[in-house]
């Protein structure tokens, strides 16, 4: 067999070159020649790599100094400009961690989940025991509260890269809480991780009993260490800090506990507090987006993502005139609750400068606001408005007449 390989390759190369000529003379680049990898064949068989020609990568948030002065704090942005569909590859999933908790080295055989507090039967589970229980797989986004576009940002990775979406598999927390027997006076839970600082958040019991999951898998494999291996709480639609990584303990309690992480998100204003925990309806165009280049007038398929912490995305609208007029975009994937949803829009660019925007509406009928809408609500000038809580405002991309694409907030 081996002796036949070179011939087969030569044949493929030859036919590809012919096809290129036949298709109208677009020269096929040398890169279509099969190359060789440095990795041994058994390594490539055991765990696949992406093509060496695919270079999409994450980088840390600039303003947050990641890694920080201790070399420890990380907020890492996902390359949304390269995204297709709704699943973020685990290797490119955004990450934000507590001090010192970038990749804790946790042996799953030693890991335990304890459920206690205001329950009739405190319980401890090993990972093996959790995996014996009924599970579900659901697609949910995660988004950091710090995911807000600034005029200095150039690309969608910078403006919106602190969100990603994956398939999560695990046991409904409600199942575990029912097994433990939640007592009547309980109203909150405190969920806590096993990393150095034991990061913890107070979460409403109603949310814990509704759709919260205790997850051990992500995108079809055990959760990656940067995402909370071996166990992560998934609180769909809530901001990222609630999605407790390295989950080791759930305490059922009767009040807001004001943990350090809770403290980091408190606000004197009740309205701002209300906007701080759940993500509002939000969308962004990923192509064409800041830093990309259109090759000239003609047809482009505008592509983007929409999501809402309140449920499914009902519709997405698109404007190519800076918000003067809006047309319906098409949803290109199923719309799952609290999940990224891909939209598309046929667009013929006439070569003139224009501003592209998307806005979405979720199942509650809540429409993603523009910054002008938010300014009106808070009675502040639009150029100085402070978007309270999770920023879900419309992102403008300015397409210049030379085809270059820029942040419309700049």
């Amino acid at each position: 067999m081996d002796s036949k390989k070179p011939n087969r390759r030569r044949f493929l190369k030859g036919s590809a070159a012919l096809a290129g000529v036949a298709a109208g003379g677009v020269p096929l680049a040398k890169s279509q020649t099969p190359g060789t990898s440095d990795k041994k064949i058994d390594e490539l068989i055991a765990y696949g790599d992406r093509s060496r020609f695919v270079t999409s990568k994450r980088f840390p948030v600039a303003e947050r100094h990641s890694p920080d002065e201790f070399g420890l704090t990380f907020h890492v942005l996902a390359p949304l400009q390269d995204s297709v569909g709704i699943i973020t590859p685990s290797s490119l999933f955004y990450t934000a961690t507590h001090r010192g908790a970038f990749v804790p080295d946790i042996d799953p055989r030693e890991h335990r989940l304890m459920i206690h507090g205001m329950v009739d039967r405190p319980l401890v589970f090993t990972m093996d025991e959790l995996k014996r229980l009924p599970y579900v797989s659901r697609i949910h986004f995660v988004e950091c509260l710090g995911n807000r576009a600034r005029p200095t940002h150039k690309t969608v990775q910078e403006t919106h890269g602190l969100t990603s979406c994956a398939e999560w598999t695990g046991v409904p927390l409600s199942l575990l809480l029912k097994e433990a027997g939640v007592q009547k006076a309980a109203s909150w839970i405190v969920a806590e991780g096993a990393e150095e600082v034991k990061g913890a958040s107070s979460i409403p019991l109603a949310k814990a009993m509704d759709d919260t999951l205790v997850c051990y898998a992500m995108n079809g494999e055990p959760i990656r260490p940067q995402q909370g291996f071996p166990l992560r709480l998934m609180v769909p639609g809530f901001e990222g800090i609630y999605q407790i990584k390295y989950l080791r303990r759930i305490k059922v309690v009767d009040r807001y506990y004001m943990t350090y992480d809770d403290y980091g998100h408190i606000n004197p204003d009740p309205k701002t507090a209300a906007l701080t925990h759940q993500i509002g309806p939000k969308s962004v165009i990923t192509y064409p987006s800041g830093g990309q280049q259109l090759s000239g007038p003609g047809f482009y398929e505008i592509s983007g993502l929409a999501w809402s912490g309140a449920g499914v995305i009902r519709s997405v609208e698109l404007s190519a005139d800076g918000g003067q007029s809006w047309k319906n975009a098409e949803l290109r994937t199923p719309a799952f609750p609290m999940a990224h949803t891909r939209f598309g829009f046929h667009w013929n660019w006439d070569g003139k400068e224009c501003v592209l925007m998307s806005r979405c509406t979720d199942e509650l009928g809540t429409v993603q606001p523009t910054r002008a809408d938010v300014a009106k609500y808070w009675n502040e000038p639009v150029d100085k408005v402070r978007v309270r809580g999770a920023d879900n405002t419309v992102q403008p991309w300015r397409v210049a007449s030379d085809g270059s694409v820029h942040n419309g907030l700049s």
Partner: protein
């Protein structure tokens, strides 16, 4: 099912509850012992009910601040570290309604002793998260003392006040009323009625 009878037997005989499987529907999981729960139960309520026995003063805390290496990140005076959050405000500030931040915040009004609504949050975080690289090694007395030191240096308590299980939750924090609780969460409701 044999569960109820087994429950009565184990309860009456005082047999350790780990002797039987706890989860009623699936029979999976174990019951932790009281000691196991106590060892992990480090989240301190604003009521202070989880606080362990112990006590400490600002004077003891000042010595610990040096001995435990706090100054390496937070600065000798607690306000000039440049890397880690400001612990001791340089000014005699009233509580300001600013949003705190968890990333290193080196501005005075974010000093936790001034901004946190509850002294328990400070005790909890020193206990679980400090010192860097040796998290969880401080004794309860040391955590009480360091908490007293930070509160005293920010003029929230007096220098000779003793903090313990009873007194710590009662400390009147300057920002006690300076925050709004998250609203009651219910499925299928928007974040804030009327918000665009």
């Amino acid at each position: 099912m044999g569960f109820p009878r087994l429950f009565i037997v184990t309860t009456v005989l005082g047999i350790c509850q780990t002797a039987w499987t706890q989860s009623p529907t699936y029979g999976i999981g174990k019951s932790p012992s009281a000691e196991e729960i106590r060892a992990w139960d480090i989240a301190i309520s604003p009521t202070g009910k989880e606080l362990p026995p112990g006590h400490g003063t600002a004077k003891e805390g000042a010595a610990l601040y040096v001995r435990k290496g706090c100054a390496a990140c937070h600065g000798a005076t607690g306000s000039s570290g440049g890397h880690a959050p400001t612990l001791i405000s340089r000014h005699d500030l009233q509580a300001k309604p600013l949003v705190p931040c968890l990333a290193p915040c080196v501005n005075d009004s974010n000093a936790m002793a001034i901004h946190s609504p509850f002294a328990t949050t400070i005790w909890d975080y020193i206990n679980r998260g400090m010192p860097i690289g040796k998290e969880g090694t401080l004794t309860p007395n040391e955590v009480y003392a360091l908490t007293a030191y930070l509160l005293s240096k920010n003029n929230v308590i007096k220098e000779d006040d003793v903090l313990d299980q009873q007194s710590l939750p009662k400390v009147k924090m300057p920002n006690r009323d300076g925050f709004a609780l998250p609203p009651d969460w219910k499925p299928g409701e928007p974040r804030l009625q009327g918000y665009p």
